[in-house]
Amino acid sequence: MTVTKEAPPAPVTAELKVRKPSTRKRLVPYWLLLPGILWLLVFFALPLVYQASTSVQTGSLEKGFEVTWHFQTYWDALTDYYPQFVRSLLYAGTATLLCLLLGYPLAYLIAFKAGRWRNVVLVLVIAPFFTSFLIRTLAWKTILADGGAVVDVLNTLHVLDVTSWLGWTESNRVLATPMAVVCGLTYNFLPFMILPLYTSLERIDGRLHEAAGDLYATPATTFRKVTFPLSMPGVVSGTLLTFIPASGDYVNAELLGSTDTKMVGSVIQTQFLRVLDYPTAAALSFILMAVVLIMVTVYIRRSGTEDLV
């Protein structure tokens, strides 16, 4: 033991030497937080307050707006645009579900089966980000174009007969229908589902699978009782990262949809930039935020993943 051989320094000097860095050390976390806090304050909190005040203003662009605590705007916005709200949540929900169904097997494959191809596949997952969001969405316009290959194939297979009966497409076109919007949303948000799923699957100790097999669980049961429950943190964060932005998205509805498929994001955009009815636009934004917050809170509570994170 070499430690015991060294004479301890005199207690007084030791205390002085120790105390100074410890005060500094205590402050380090706050210094590290500072840029983030500032960022949030300037780009999130302040605009939020500004929007909140806008939402209770009345007036017009010519005469100017002033705060009149006119809460009626909220009620009007909700009654006028509730179909778009419902549609947004429905489309976003469907897209999220599709992302989960498409993304889970892929994330599972990357985490457990890809071996040395793991990084390659991961890069492929995020490869679309190298191109602009808009361009990729416009590409879907070409893919789903009337008389295009996709529509032809779906038509020949009589898939469109079924989907048009369900109201998802028209009998001979996909573009400008709900299905086109949901396809666009699913495509655009898929990586946001895959990456958190992959992260949480990858963290699962492979020996747990062996242990489950050793304890009489078939591979299917192992997935149901061990793998899936342990991947819940990924499922939750993946669905949130998909659902929240998808419910506020307007690009897909604008580019791939029609007036019948307008989502609340498009309405807000129109109110802000074309109608110039700022209070209504702000009120719509707040309603959307509140709805999403409530849904997310309920969802997280019910999924019970606190223990796993």
Partner: protein, 382 residues
């Protein structure tokens, strides 16, 4: 505790495992009798864990068969084999509480009322109060006991233990060794225990198979392995041996060997190597079998004992015994453990001494082997 009487011997026939060009386990025959506590002992990479995993079905055998109670189970997936494993890292399900972890196997077999059995099993491993905790709220030793309970509750015909005590500190390990031994005696299930700790294997097992380089070097009861090692690897890996190389002078009921300028004898039946006059032979003797006398007292040593003269180069006081390292013409560093009963004050480093022992305690090994095989190096011990 109901005992499973339908079990039988585990029989491995010509089983081997090859990864690419690497032979992890060379074709191997092994029979583990029902109800025994069997240890597979060896250094890391010797194939012991692979052998265990082939019995569990977690690893597919390249050749050979595994049978259990006469039934061939080679092709069965792990979930269809009546064996359970205690994993090295325990592999407890982090999302389930202790009682659900323990109940996992029962539930998979469609048993609905598991409560009583789980409670009994947790009682057996003395964790009754922890049923509702999650694995991460338990200490290493407690998690280890949960892992044992989770496996045992299924009444497997064979319980496989893969270095189950490796992650525990020394004191806890000693305690758990006794605990596992107690449980095995209580439930009477066959235990196959993989370990690299020779002391652990000897304390717990009825039969030990020493593995080296994908083969079983020797198999037997711990005391038998210790007293009659058949290879230098076993002699060095199980405890410590002094190996002295010599030349056979004559062979009769006793073999006489010339080594280090003197003559040493050993009983013929304790020599596993063929002896030819003039041929080489390795003589082995355990450090605790050797007595140490100061050179001045050499005349007092009884006739008929093997003697080697030398000089003490090092001594360390251990408490119950003193360990000496002696340099002699017969070997550069002979180990001698002397009980601290009447200590001779003259036996200090530098003293000229005579090592003497009963020839019956000498064993003979084939000199064609590596004399240092199985000697624990610093990296192995870490």
């Amino acid at each position: 505790m109901t005992q499973q009487q339908t079990g039988g011997d585990v029989r491995l026939t010509g089983i081997s495992k090859t990864y690419g060009s690497f032979e992890a386990v060379k074709p191997l025959d092994l029979t583990v009798p029902q109800g025994s506590f069997f240890a597979l002992l060896g250094a890391s990479g010797c194939g012991k864990t692979t052998t265990l995993r082939m019995i569990a079905g977690l690893e597919e055998a390249t050749t050979g068969t595994v049978s259990l109670g006469g039934q061939d189970i080679t092709g069965l997936p792990p979930y269809k084999r009546p064996v359970n494993t205690v994993f090295q890292s325990y592999a407890l399900f982090p999302h389930l509480d202790i009682s659900e972890n323990v109940a996992f196997g029962l539930r998979r077999r469609g048993i609905k009322s598991v409560k009583k059995q789980v409670a009994e099993m947790l009682e057996l491993v003395q964790l009754g109060d922890f049923a509702k905790r999650k694995p991460h709220q338990l200490s290493g030793g407690q998690q280890q006991r949960v892992a044992v309970a989770r496996a045992l509750i299924n009444h497997p015909q064979v319980l496989l233990l893969d270095e189950p005590l490796g992650a525990l500190d020394l004191k806890l390990r000693r305690q758990m060794q006794l605990e596992l031994k107690r449980i095995q005696t209580e439930v009477g299930i066959t235990f196959i225990h993989v370990t690299h700790d020779q002391e652990e294997a000897m304390t717990m097992a009825d039969t030990v198979a020493v593995m080296n380089g994908g083969r079983v070097e020797q198999l037997g009861a711990p005391a038998d392995l210790y007293e009659n090692p058949r290879t230098t690897f076993v002699a060095n890996f199980l405890g410590t041996s002094n190996l002295i190389e010599g030349e056979v002078v004559s062979a009769g009921t006793d073999i006489v060997v010339a080594a280090g300028g003197g003559k040493l004898r050993l009983p013929t039946d304790r020599c596993t190597a063929p002896t030819v006059n003039g041929g080489k032979l390795l003589l082995g003797v355990r450090p605790e079998k050797i007595s140490l006398a100061h050179a001045d007292d050499a005349d007092a040593i009884a006739d008929g004992r093997n003697r080697v003269t030398g000089r003490i180069v090092d001594s360390s006081f251990i408490g119950v015994s003193t360990q000496y390292v002696v340099e002699s013409p017969a070997g550069e560093a002979l180990q001698v453990y002397e009980q601290n009963i009447e200590r001779d004050a003259r036996l200090t480093p530098g003293a000229e001494v005579v090592l003497h022992w009963n020839p019956a305690h000498t064993f003979g090994l084939d000199a064609a082997q590596d004399i240092d095989a199985g000697v624990e190096t610093v990296e192995d011990a870490a």
